[in-house]
């Protein structure tokens, strides 16, 4: 041992290169550089550009000038913008609640001992693996004013006389796009919560049933509290996805009728690209950031390791 360490000594304090090799900090920076460049180049630049555009009057084909908060001031008085904010909030809140309740329910069912369990689990994932545009087109057909299979079935059953105007009536259109979004979003919630349920040891459920808990109380006092950390993650993602939803609306209603289903994302696109007002479109998109930030902060505090998850002594 001693002899080997003495022979290694001169080598270590030798060339600049070998000293560099031994410096943890320098190596750390070198190893992180590619990731840092990637992060700045591909994530921050587009975001920064978007924010910048929001402060300009850029149009398609014409570089804009800095106009300060003019775009935002204009949006403040824009009824359609406020309608899209309202729509987005309603859409997100209702769809997220439905996705949570139905997803949790489905996860609980799939967690039971079922015959053909893996088959059902695969089926549940289907709405999620189908490309959004494809499922949106399918819903477009399902909601068709004349050929809707829903209307047809209800008429055959004698429950209604005329086809339902799914996408033509403001209220119906809102409910329809929410239903489509829920259908698409349930698998993510259900499968994630199912994974969470499977981390809860069976012996806890057994202990609770010996302790006299009914199935409902087992859910209320054991399953649900142990699932909350995962619920917080899953629902944060679900809210972010729903709030920024674009494809479904764009295929089904393009924001109509009379802007009743315009979300902030679709309005931003419409003003920015077909409408050519890039600056204004960017400003609408930037207005989504405070909402998204709020959702992330909410989950950040919700996600903080709970007291019972912390290890070690106090």
């Amino acid at each position: 041992m001693t002899s080997s360490s003495t022979t290694a000594e001169p080598e270590r304090s030798g060339t600049i290169l070998s000293r560099f090799n031994n410096s943890r900090n320098a190596l750390g920076i070198i190893f992180m550089l590619p990731a840092a460049i990637f992060l700045i180049g591909f994530l921050t630049y587009p975001l920064g550009l978007g924010v910048w555009l929001g402060f300009t009057d850029t149009r398609i084909g014409r570089a804009g000038d800095f106009i300060g908060l003019e775009n935002y001031a204009y949006l403040m008085d824009d009824q359609v913008f406020w309608l899209s904010v309202f729509n987005t909030v309603v859409y997100t809140v209702i769809a997220s609640i439905l996705k949570f309740v139905l997803g949790l329910w489905l996860a609980l069912i799939l967690n039971e001992k079922l015959p053909y369990k893996s088959f059902f689990r695969a089926i549940v994932l289907l709405p999620w693996v189908v490309p959004t545009v494809l499922s949106a087109l399918a819903f477009w057909w399902i909601y068709d004013a004349q050929f809707s299979i829903l209307s047809w079935s209800l008429m055959k059953l004698g429950l209604i006389d005329t086809p339902i105007n799914f996408l033509g009536d403001p209220l119906n259109a809102r409910l329809s796009v929410i239903a489509a979004n829920v259908w698409r979003g349930i698998p993510f919630v259900a499968i994630s919560l199912l994974a969470g349920l499977q981390t809860i040891p069976v012996s806890l459920q057994e202990a609770a049933s010996l302790d006299g808990a009914t199935p409902w109380k087992r859910f209320r006092y054991v399953t649900l509290p142990m699932l909350t950390p995962i619920i917080a993650v899953v629902m944060t993602f679900s809210v972010l996805f729903t709030f920024t939803d674009f494809q479904l609306i764009y295929v089904l209603t393009k924001g109509g009728p009379v802007n009743a289903t315009h979300l902030m994302a679709t309005l931003s696109f419409q003003r920015g690209i077909p409408g050519g007002q890039l600056g204004e479109g960017a400003a609408i998109a930037v207005s989504m950031i405070p909402f998204l930030l709020a959702a992330i902060l909410f989950s950040f505090f919700g996600l903080q390791r709970r007291k019972w998850q912390q290890g070690g002594q106090d």
């Binding site: 040891p201 012996s203 806890l204 057994e206 202990a207 609770a208 049933s209 010996l210 302790d211 006299g212 808990a213 009914t214 109380k217 006092y221 054991v222 509290p225 142990m226 709970r306 007291k307 019972w308 998850q309 912390q310 290890g311 070690g312 002594q313 106090d314």
Partner: protein, 353 residues
């Protein structure tokens, strides 16, 4: 408190029989230990008693009532799981009071029951901690506390000490036994460790491969094992088993494979040449200058006693001497056998003759 009876109980998982007809009577207030090697069905039997597994055939009675179809929460049973199964999101106090909460007892009533139980188990200072913040031994105590606050008809323990270190295990053994003497609740305790069984039980049930091999008080099993399995399982170091036959000329002499003659207390009635086993506990030998010669292979002095592995009659025997002896490997040791304590078993059936 209640007696527990298993009557011809069977259990199969799918087509595989796991419990193959078990009869056990457990008296009110008795401390019974189910012991047997891993995989013999002890936990399964205990879980059937708790209502966590259904019963394929037979009957289980608690306090005279058949409970085959009764859900766990109605059986008034408390169980300590091997992994303790503490609720991680509840404090020690909440864990201990959970069953009371489930049974609709008001907060003040829960507090009044949790306090004394915590005192008995030395948990008073830990009531606000979460399970994560406890050591293994403390978690074990909380699991027991959760069981005792309910004052149930029956306590079930499934290998409660197997996750503890050796020293703590000895200490908890004493505490569990004291607890039983204080509460006098019928207890069914599962372990694979025969020392735990011997030191704690009023009655031991030795299980093997889904059947009960023998039921009895610890020393009864030690002194009169019914068969080779019980003889080999109970006792540490284990009983020496030497293959051989009865001498054709003298029914009080056992001949080992290499022709060494070993003494028997009384004549054994066995057909000529029938394969038998000579069972000798390590401590049932003493020095005797005129005794049978054995060659020392290894000595293991432990202080209180000396363990000697010696070659005799073609097999290696473990011998225990209470005096300190100085022998070296290769030495010849002359021993006399306490033939009154010897057991002879039928090799084919395993039964004691």
């Amino acid at each position: 408190m209640a007696p527990v009876e298993f009557v011809k109980v069977r259990k199969s998982f799918g087509a595989t029989p796991i419990i193959k007809g078990v009869d056990i009577d457990i008296a009110d207030g008795e401390f019974v230990i189910l012991v047997g090697p891993s995989g013999c069905g002890k936990s399964t039997l205990l879980r059937m008693l708790a209502g966590l597994e259904n019963i394929t055939a037979g009957e289980i009675r608690i306090g005279g009532r058949v409970v085959n179809k009764m859900p766990p929460k109605e059986r008034d049973i408390a169980m300590v799981f091997q992994n303790y199964a503490l609720y991680p999101h509840m404090t020690v106090a909440e864990n201990m009071g959970f069953s009371l909460l489930m049974n609709g007892i008001p907060k003040s009533g829960i507090e009044a029951k949790v306090r004394p139980a915590a005192e008995i188990l030395g948990l008073t200072n830990l009531l606000d901690r979460y399970p994560r913040q406890l050591s293994g031994g403390q978690r074990q105590r909380v699991a027991m506390g959760r069981a005792i606050v309910r004052n149930p008809q029956v306590f079930l323990f499934d290998e409660p000490l197997s996750n503890l270190d050796a020293k703590l295990r000895v200490q908890m053994r004493v505490e569990i036994k004291e607890l039983h003497q204080r509460l006098k609740t019928t207890t069914v305790y599962v372990t694979h460790d025969q020392i735990e069984a011997m030191t704690m039980a009023d009655k031991i049930v030795v299980m093997h491969d889904g059947i009960v091999e023998q039921v009895g008080a610890p020393l009864d099993l030690y002194d009169r094992p019914n068969n080779l399995f019980v003889a080999g399982f109970i006792g540490s170091p284990a009983m020496n088993m030497i293959d051989g036959t009865i001498s054709p000329s003298d029914p009080k002499v056992f001949l080992t494979g290499d022709g060494t003659a070993l003494p028997l207390a009384k004549p054994v009635d066995a057909a000529n040449g029938k394969a038998l086993v000579y069972g000798l506990r390590p401590e049932h030998v003493r020095f005797d200058p005129n005794g049978i010669p054995a060659t020392v292979v290894v000595t293991e002095p432990t202080g209180a006693e000396t363990l000697v592995i010696a070659r005799l009659g073609g097999s290696d025997l473990t011998l225990v001497f209470h005096e300190r002896i100085l022998v070296n490997p290769g030495d010849t040791l002359r021993i006399a056998i306490n033939e009154a304590a010897v057991h002879v078993f039928d090799r084919a059936t395993g039964q004691r003759l």
